[in-house]
């Protein structure tokens, strides 16, 4: 791609040979609607927790796919499960279930490489 003058920011690219995909696989297995996310950010815009803190579900989505579990662990605790994100989601994703699955996955799964 670089040959054609395009560059890709490291923070936005997912190298599937290197990333740990255990959590994302676990989530999609149990909540398949998560795979339809278009990263529009409506969830983040309406978020009650995001109103008080810097909690950002849209960013969380990328971090899950990147396998950055330490960051997710700190972030996910901020969600209050109020459900506004679910109501505004244009793709009808069960965001509350995704959050619960992340929490459960982080505590019960063996996520080491």
């Amino acid at each position: 791609m670089k040959k054609f003058g395009f560059t890709t920011a490291q923070s936005r690219s997912i190298d599937y040979d290197k990333v740990n995909t255990k959590l994302i696989k676990y989530i999609i297995e149990n909540e398949s609607s998560f795979s339809t996310c278009i990263s529009c950010g409506a969830c983040t815009a309406t978020c009650s927790a995001g109103n008080i803190t810097h909690f950002n579900i849209r960013r969380l989505n990328i971090q899950i796919r990147l396998g950055k579990y330490e960051t997710i662990k700190q972030e996910i605790d901020k969600c209050m499960l109020c459900g506004k994100c679910m109501l505004v989601c244009p793709r009808g994703i069960n965001t509350r279930n995704v959050i619960m699955l992340i929490k459960k996955g982080l505590t019960t799964l063996d996520l080491s490489d």
Partner: protein, 600 residues
């Protein structure tokens, strides 16, 4: 003597039954919390025991609550329970009178006619009376056969799925009474001691010239079916028969279900008769989901093999709880399982910091869902302004969630953190009234906040008070309005009349076919974590079709989540009570310009 071995299956069965029951009862009662044990001790020698016995009589034997669901179904259950009870009781009295003593072994009372053929005082009366009761039970057995074929006649569209051991127990129960009829008929044929039913059958048997080995075979079948039923009873749904008695007793002593799953929960789980009435109450079947209804969840809880997918797939609308003839707290039981399943990952919400709250008379908490439907919060504020109330918009900016959605997801410890935070703010404000425009918040404020003297009011309650006190005066319009009862407000907090009262004042109020404590769920519920959006839409359409049957002008509700859910499914106006009310006041007083955006 060897002929009398036929009583063995019965004796073994009865022994196994009594030992298993004793073990279960003792372990449950030992596991009760200390306070609950004290409650039992204190309540035991009071009138509560008598009232429990009265309820046991009405619910366990006469099954009056099933009669309300369907008379035929009630009759079937009553004939089995009450009929069998009378049969055992009168059978014992008969054998005591015959022996002129109280020391009669149980098998002699149960198989009385096999052992005694001679005449004694009242023998004819007992023979006919026992036959009458047997006939009564047999009519129930016949209905039970018919129910398997034509369940719709009994008001049940969908019936529970059975496991092999349930089938064995069911078949043995079905066999007991016909077997008794044939056994007593055979004896009557040989010794002429039958009543009007068994005697007649005996006459038929005499025609075929039966002998004593046929008679013995019949008694063997009768005894074996009793034995099999007794042995399978503690391990199948029939365990509800003895457990429900214990459940009613404990309930009368004031022992309630706790948040955690404990022995009180177990007693409730085992009290489920798996009658299947909850299956028809559940709206999930519209989306062709038929594995997560309360009867199946309770079965999984009993067998300890409940999966997360099933556990979290429930709207917690409470329709099944309303329909349950046993009165089991189905929603709270399910939540207790969710608490169990998610207790390892509760959040601490350290970012919430206490801040100074200004003083006020009325504290208004809108909640997350009302923030998502700004029309409602603006209307509430506008009405408060018009009425001239000194109020404080508590969570106007940067408000925390009330904790109810966490509670529904089983995150009890996390919810406690939010409750503590909000509670402090409400108490600090010095308000005498807490006004809430979301039934989800309202329920948790009522149930878990422990706010002491503060009046907690849903906006429909509060606005009705304002209207009645003359603070606001709405104008009646010609709009035809129907009302949807939100689950958390209706079944959850028992508020049905206030919203209707208001609507009757501002429009032409029309009833809908299914309403109040039977009302349908909008399907938007936060109680469900895994129901997919397409399935939610199917349930929503079903609910809308009931609500909008007579083409109203406005579909009114009193919950922002119901409104948000319905808006996506219909072209008819969906409005919260506050919005309709503010419209009618504005039209009358023309207080328009300065009242816009009062919340901003």
């Amino acid at each position: 003597m060897i002929e009398e071995y036929f009583v063995l299956p019965f004796i073994i069965g009865l022994f196994v039954l009594l030992v298993t029951l004793a073990i279960k009862y003792v372990s449950w009662i030992v596991q009760l919390s200390h306070i609950d044990k004290l409650r039992v001790l204190q309540g035991f020698f009071t009138r509560r025991t008598l009232s429990a016995i009265k309820k046991i009589w009405k619910e366990c034997l006469l099954h009056t609550r099933i009669f309300k669901t369907n008379p035929l179904l009630g009759y079937m259950h009553m004939s089995f329970a009450f009929g069998w009870f009378v049969l055992i009781l009168v059978g014992h009295i008969e054998s005591y009178i015959h022996a002129e003593s109280l020391s009669v072994p149980p098998w002699e009372s149960i198989f009385f006619r096999y052992f005694h053929h001679e005449h004694f005082v009242g023998e004819r009366f007992f023979a006919h009376f026992m036959d009458f009761i047997l006939l009564y039970i047999l009519s129930g057995v016949f209905l039970a056969y018919a129910k398997r074929l034509y369940s719709r006649v009994f008001g049940i569209k969908r019936s529970t799925k059975l496991k092999p051991k349930d089938r064995i127990a069911l078949l043995s129960l079905w066999l007991i009474f016909p077997a008794r009829l044939f056994a007593e008929g055979a004896t009557a044929s040989l010794y002429g001691n039958g009543g009007f039913v068994t005697g007649t059958l005996g006459g038929v048997f005499s025609f075929f010239e039966i002998n004593s080995s046929f008679e013995l075979a019949m008694w063997w079948i009768y005894s074996s079916s009793l034995g099999v039923f007794f042995i399978t009873l503690p391990f199948t749904r029939y365990m509800h028969i003895p457990t429900e008695v214990l459940f009613i007793l404990l309930r009368e002593y004031g022992i309630q279900l706790k948040k955690e799953y404990n022995s009180v929960s177990k007693i409730q789980v085992y009290s489920c008769s798996r009658c299947g009435i909850c299956i028809d109450a559940c709206q999930m079947h519209h989306a062709e989901i038929s594995n997560n209804q309360s009867v199946y969840i309770l079965k999984n809880m009993r067998d300890e093999n409940l999966t997360d997918r099933k556990l979290y797939n429930c709207l917690l609308c409470g329709r099944c709880e309303q329909a349950c003839p046993v009165g089991i707290n189905l929603n709270d039981l399910r939540i207790s399982q969710r608490i169990q399943a998610s207790k390892e990952f509760n959040s601490s919400y350290d970012f919430l910091t206490y801040k100074n709250t200004p003083q006020t008379d009325v504290a208004y908490f809108s909640g997350c869902m009302t923030h998502l439907t700004p029309g409602i919060k603006e209307s509430v504020c506008a009405i408060l302004e018009i009425a001239g109330i000194n109020y404080l918009f508590l969570d106007k900016e940067k408000g925390a969630c009330c904790g109810r959605p966490l509670m529904q997801a089983g995150q009890y410890q996390a919810a406690k953190k939010l409750i503590d935070y909000n509670r402090q703010q409400i108490l600090d404000s010095g308000a005498h009234t807490l006004l809430v425009s979301c039934p989800i918040c309202y329920k948790v404020f009522k149930d878990d906040y422990e706010l002491g003297q503060i009046n907690i009011k849903h906006h429909s309650e509060y606005f009705l008070e304002l209207i009645n006190a003359g603070y606001i005066s709405p104008r009646k319009s010609d709009n035809i309005i129907v009302y949807h009862d939100p689950c958390e407000l209706g079944r959850g907090a028992n508020i049905y009349n206030e919203p209707r009262e208001i609507l009757k004042k501002i429009g032409k109020f029309r009833k809908v076919r299914i309403e109040k404590n039977q009302s349908l769920c909008c399907s938007g519920s936060l109680g469900d974590l895994s129901l997919s959006m397409p399935d939610r839409n199917i349930i929503k359409e079903q609910t809308l079709s009931v609500l909008l049957k007579h083409n109203p002008d406005i579909l009114a509700t009193a919950c922002p989540l119901c409104k948000k859910t319905f808006v996506k499914g219909t072209f008819i106006q969906v409005k919260d009570i506050a919005e309709i009310l503010v419209d009618s006041i504005k039209k009358k007083t023309a207080l328009l310009p300065e009242m816009e955006n009062v919340c901003e």
